[in-house]
């Protein structure tokens, strides 16, 4: 089984006045686990349905390994879909559900038997072959849907929010299963989800979509660490996002600094002056947006000793601590209209100092390296 390159070029699709996709282009590589991530209504499912053949784009091109697939009906494309609601045939047993594509192809009975059992083994359901879909739990149904979609040996597997109907624990489990299956068979996976955790944890690359546009394509690390737009920064993980103005740009003194990396001082109305490093080409006077992830901010009740000049330090009051077991999120008020989210892991014995509680006065600090300039809004 070999995967296909999937090329999407300038695809647009409207439903009446609603523009579901606006000139979307994506290059998905052979064997990649590629996610389409975005909030509901962003067009990700429409794009998947266009690739599967259930919708026809108004403009644009979709190719598998360079071959135009748009003229082909769904049953003629080497892509199979795992549907959001599983779409198992309720009148057929698990065995017959998985055998369905082979029966359509009129494969001999003997061959069907061995092949179906092989695929049921792949998803660890060989003991449930005789059952009806209604007797299976959500996770099992999901696995049947995967086996059924894979048995035709497609070169592209399309997954439409396949885990959204499962509870959180099972979802984690299935996600690992999916990743294992992907490693084992090595075909192209295109995975649609609105859950950034899912997308970040399994994808080789992902595309963040919003209102029919692709905002950013990149590896999970790139998307998280270097969001291309404010929307991406806000949508992926939690963040603190501010607009500011560039005050000064200085070359980096640090020997490990990247070639074109500069130390920028920003004036942020809510915070005051902060330092941030960037490789973007910015000049004094530019309006930019700035982000700092909550987990990159240190919090303490005592004033930290600063032996570096690139640390941003603020004093604040804990507005709201939110305890969630392995970590606590603090909303720290810096000024009248600036509240920063700070994440603190509950780590281990080496942690010192008293617990930070509601209304405590705290110091928060972060390195200029950890901040990030998202967009240049006006130069």
């Amino acid at each position: 089984m070999k995967g296909s390159d999937v090329n999407i070029e300038g695809v647009s699709k409207s439903f009446g006045d609603f523009k579901a996709l606006k000139d979307v282009s994506l290059q998905i590589k052979k064997g990649e686990f590629f996610s389409l991530l975005g909030p509901s209504g962003c067009g990700k499912t429409t794009l998947l349905r266009i690739i599967a053949g259930f919708e026809t784009p108004d403009t644009g091109l979709v190719t598998f390994d360079g071959v135009d697939v748009l003229p082909l009906p769904p049953n003629m494309r080497h892509a199979n879909t795992v549907f959001q609601n599983y779409a198992l045939f309720p009148h057929l047993s698990i065995f017959e559900n998985v055998a369905f594509p082979l029966r359509i192809k009129k494969v001999p009975n003997k061959e069907i038997k061995t092949k179906v059992m092989d695929y049921l083994k792949l998803v660890e359901l060989e003991n449930h072959a005789h059952k009806k879909p209604s007797q299976l739990s959500g996770g099992q149904k999901q696995r049947v849907a995967i086996a059924r979609a894979l048995i035709n040996e497609p070169s592209v597997l399309l997954l439409d929010e396949p885990l959204s109907a499962l509870d959180a624990k099972l979802r984690q489990h299935m996600l690992i299963e999916l990743d294992k299956i992907h490693d084992k068979i090595g075909i192209t996976f295109i995975y649609v989800t609105h859950d950034q955790q899912e997308a970040l944890s399994v994808s080789d690359r992902l595309a963040v979509m919003c209102q029919g546009d692709v905002l950013q394509v990149g590896t999970p690390h790139e998307i998280y660490e270097s969001p291309a737009t404010d929307f991406v920064a806000r949508f992926i993980g939690e963040t603190n996002l501010f607009d500011g103005t560039v005050v000064s740009v200085e070359p980096m003194e640090h020997p490990k600094a990247a070639e074109n990396e500069t130390m920028v001082t920003l004036d942020i109305p809510e915070l005051g002056r902060i330092k941030v490093t960037t490789v973007d080409n910015v000049a004094p006077g530019m309006k930019v947006s700035f982000t700092i992830r909550p987990e990159k901010i240190a919090i303490s009740t005592e004033k930290p000793t600063l032996n570096r000049n690139d640390i941003n330090l603020f004093e604040g009051i804990v507005d709201e601590p939110i305890y969630s077991g392995f970590q606590t999120k603090f909303y720290v008020r810096i000024s009248e209209n600036a509240v920063l989210k700070v994440m603190k892991q509950h780590s281990n014995y080496s942690d010192e100092g008293p617990d930070i509680v509601w209304k405590d006065s705290v110091y928060i600090s972060w390195s200029a390296d950890d901040g990030y300039i998202v967009e240049v809004k006006q130069s």
């Binding site: 053949g53 049953n75 879909t81 609601n85 779409a87 369905f100 660890e124 007797q135 099992q140 979609a149």
Partner: protein, 316 residues
């Protein structure tokens, strides 16, 4: 004692009126017909209260056999045609956004009396009727065509009359059908036609059963349509019964022919019920074993492979 009293089951009491109604107007007439069919024919109509199998012996008459077979064939053909037309109608209605309007359109014919609708067909199909008029005026034919008074006309009007009875149950089951299953079938390699026959039809069986029963049973006992639309050779059992009652005045024979209709239609219902019951039983057996599965699933979900603890750690 008081709590026990308040918990008394009043079900039978509530069901009383309808039980009385059915006994008086449904069970009693059937018993009378069964009884009459085993009696001797009265001289001037009515029956003599003497046991006799004459009425059943008379059924062996080749004439009756021919009419019975014709009735059966007509009913089967008309039912099949009705279902074939009703299926796409029901499908379209279920997919439509204007379900209320379409439902109303299906029901509108019921606002006109059954007989009037039959006469309307005569007005359309008659030798001087609307259709022939049109054809003559358009110069498509030189002389009128004999549309009426044959088997085809009977089937046409029967199909028209009973179409709503097939559309409604089909629509209501197709409406509950999960159309994404058709997409799944297409995705897995089925052509459009295969997705219909292999996925849609098996999943709307209950609606098909109901539609078949709702059309076959009344058509098998049809009286007015073959009488008014049909010719001499489109007589059906219903017409023979009427003749025996009113013209020949052989009430036992009319009753025994009624019994033929009752037996045939009851057999049909029984077969369908048995099929559905068997299915339900299978389902039930499956579900009993299904509960165990769910437990297994819970176990297997917690047996997460080593090295993945971090991902599920929070939930453990």
């Amino acid at each position: 004692m008081k709590p026990a009293l308040s918990k008394r089951n009043y079900g039978p009491l509530y069901a009383g009126p309808i039980a009385l109604w059915f006994t008086l107007f449904f069970a009693a007439p059937i018993i009378i017909i069964v009884a009459y069919s085993f009696m001797k024919k009265g001289l001037y109509g009515g029956v003599e209260y003497v046991f006799s199998l004459d009425a059943y012996k008379a059924l062996a008459n080749p004439n009756f056999v021919t009419i019975t077979i014709r009735t059966l064939l007509t009913s089967i053909v008309a039912t099949l045609l009705t279902i074939l037309i009703a299926l796409p109608c029901g499908y379209f209605m279920a997919k439509s956004k204007n379900q209320t309007v379409l439902l109303l359109l299906v029901i509108i014919p019921f606002w006109t009396n059954f007989l009037i609708r039959v006469y309307a067909w005569i007005a359309i199909l008659g030798n001087n009727g609307f259709l022939n008029d049109m054809l003559l005026k358009l110069g498509l034919v030189k002389d009128y065509i004999q549309f009426l008074y044959n088997q085809e006309a009977v089937i046409l009007v029967l199909v028209y009359m009973y179409l709503p009875y097939a559309i409604l149950p089909l629509f209501s089951t197709i409406d509950k059908f999960d159309f994404s299953l058709l997409e799944a079938a297409r995705d897995l390699g089925a052509t459009k036609f295969q997705s219909m026959t292999k996925v849609l039809l098996p999943n709307i069986r209950s609606g098909l059963f109901t539609a078949v029963l709702f059309t076959f049973i009344p058509i098998f006992g049809a009286y007015a349509v073959p009488l008014l639309i049909g010719g001499k050779d489109s007589y059906m059992l219903g017409n023979v019964i009427a003749d025996q009652l009113t013209k020949t005045r052989n009430w036992p024979l009319a009753s025994s022919i009624s019994m033929v209709i009752t037996v045939v239609t009851t057999a049909g219902v029984m077969i369908m019920l048995a099929l559905q019951k068997r299915e339900a039983q299978q389902q039930k057996e499956n579900e009993l074993s299904g509960n165990v599965t769910t437990m297994e699933e819970i176990d297997s979900a917690s047996e997460i492979p080593a090295g993945t603890g971090a991902a599920t750690g929070g939930a453990q």
